[in-house]
Subunit: 255 residues, 2 copies
C-alpha cells in the first residue's frame, strides 16, 4: 500500500524550528512534500498575491525530502503546491505549522498558518493547523510531538466529517505537564490594540502595532479555557461566516 | 443632535471611484472620516502589518472631508483610524468599499474590503462592506447609491442584532433593473485555481494566479442566487469559524 501524501507548510518560513518538528512527525506517517514562504509571513491572514508574479524554487534545507520555497503568502504556497508542484496529484493531508505562538480564538483570522490550512481545506484536503503557545525562536517542540502525531494519525485513519480543518493549539508546558486534548469551540476573545508611536531618523512619525489579548468568554468549552487549564485545544473550523441568528432581525431589508 | 460619525475605508485605495461613491452617500447621513490604503490592497484578506512600521498622512483628495492614507493593509487602516486618528472616539458606523468586484460567497475571506469591515466589527462597531459586481475602474456606481443609502440608514436607525457586520453585494445592472434586496446566507462556492506560467526577461519562470469562480451550492437562499437573479445580497456575517456539527465526530480525541 502506498504511503499517504502529506503536504507541509507554515507561515514562519523554512528555517523556523516549528516546521522542522512538524516535518519530523509527518515523515513517520507518510510521503512528505514541503512548500513554505521564503520569508516570515506571520499575520498575513488569508492574503493572496494578485498584483505580482509568484516564484517557486527547490531548496535543499530538508535533506532528502522534496522542499520548495515560494515568494508569496502562505495561501499562495498551498495554491502553488496543489496546482503547480503536485499538478493536482491527490493530497491526503495538509499540515501547517507548528506555529511559534498562539492561533487560538480570534487569532485564526489573522494567522497565515491557519489560512494556509484553510486554503487546503477549501481545495477539499483534510487539513490541520498546529500552533505552540510560545513565540520564541527557541521554543521547545518536543512535548508537542506525540500529540501532533496522534492527531495526524487520527485524521489519516478516520478522515474528517462535517469539517475539513482542525485548529490545534498546544500549551507551553513540559512533556509530563500537558493534561491531554479537548475538542472545543473558538473562544469569543479579542485583541485590545495599541500603537507604539515613534519617530524615524528623518523625523517622520511612525506607528508599530502591539496589543493585548483579552478573553471575556467565560465558557468552559472554549479553546482558551482548555489551554489555560493545561490541555491541547482542537477546534473543527469552517469558512461559512454567515450569522444565521441575525437574519430574522434584518427582514425589513428584504424586498 | 450631533450627526453620526461614519468611518469610510476600502481596499482599492483613495483614487478608486467606488470609495468616492460611498463617501458621497455617507456624507448625506453623517460626519465622515476617511482612511484608506495608499496603494491597492485587493486580496489582502485579514492581513496585518507586524514586521514593519505603519505611517499615516492627511490627504486632500476629498475636499473638506478629513481623509488619511496609510501604508498598511485595510485592517491596519481600521486599527489606526480607531486608536490613532479618532483616539477611541465613538464610531457609529464603518463602511468599506464600494469594492470594484464581487465579495460574495467565499470571496469574503480573501477580501481586504470585507476584512476591514470585519476588523471594525471586532472593535464593536456596526460595519458594512459594499461591493459591486464590476471589476472595471469605470464601473457605474450610480445605480448602487439609493440601496447603499437605504442599508446605511437602516443600520444607523436600528443598529444590528446578533451580528455587527453586513456583507452587501450589488449586481451589475442599470438603475431600473435591480429587483430589490435579499437577506441571504453565504453560498458554499469556491475558486478553481489556475496559474499562468511565463518566463521573465532574465529567463526565470514565474506564475500568475488566475481562476474560475464555481458555485455548486444549489440553495435559493444564497447570496450568489440573489445576485444571479438581479437582487442585492445582504449576508449578516461573523467571525466564529467553529464547525459545531463536526465536534461529535471528534470525540475520540478528547482526553
Amino acid at each position: 500500500m502506498s504511503r499517504p501524501l502529506i503536504l507541509v507548510t507554515n507561515d514562519d518560513g523554512h528555517f523556523a524550528p516549528g516546521i522542522r518538528a512538524l516535518v519530523e512527525v509527518a515523515s513517520e506517517l507518510g510521503e512528505v512534500i514541503i512548500i513554505a514562504p521564503d520569508s516570515p509571513q506571520s499575520g498575513m491572514g488569508h492574503a493572496i498575491t494578485i498584483h505580482n508574479p509568484l516564484r517557486i524554487n527547490r531548496v535543499q534545507s530538508f535533506g532528502d525530502i522534496q522542499a520548495w520555497e515560494c515568494n508569496g503568502t502562505p495561501v499562495d504556497c498551498v495554491k502553488l503546491a496543489k496546482h503547480v508542484v503536485l499538478k493536482d496529484r491527490k493530497v491526503d493531508l495538509c499540515v501547517s505549522g507548528i506555529n511559534h505562538g498562539s492561533n487560538a480564538s480570534i487569532n485564526i483570522i489573522y494567522s497565515g498558518t491557519l489560512s494556509a490550512a484553510m486554503e487546503a481545506s477549501l481545495e477539499g484536503i483534510n487539513s490541520i493547523g498546529f500552533s505552540l503557545l510560545d513565540y520564541s525562536f527557541d521554543a521547545d517542540f518536543e512535548p508537542s510531538k506525540p500529540f501532533v502525531r496522534r492527531i495526524m494519525q487520527f485524521v489519516l485513519d478516520n478522515g474528517l466529517s462535517q469539517t475539513r480543518l482542525l485548529n490545534v493549539n498546544i500549551p507551553k508546558l513540559a512533556s509530563g505537564e500537558i493534561k491531554g486534548m479537548k475538542v472545543c469551540r473558538q473562544a469569543n476573545a479579542r485583541w485590545i490594540e495599541e500603537f507604539v508611536e515613534s519617530t524615524d531618523p528623518r523625523g517622520q512619525k511612525y506607528y508599530w502595532l502591539t496589543g493585548q489579548f483579552i478573553n471575556e468568554d467565560l465558557g468552559s468549552d472554549t479553546d482558551v479555557h482548555a489551554l489555560d487549564n493545561g490541555y491541547i485545544s482542537i477546534v473543527p473550523s469552517g469558512h461559512d461566516l454567515t450569522s444565521y441568528g441575525a437574519m430574522a432581525g434584518l427582514s425589513d431589508l428584504n424586498d
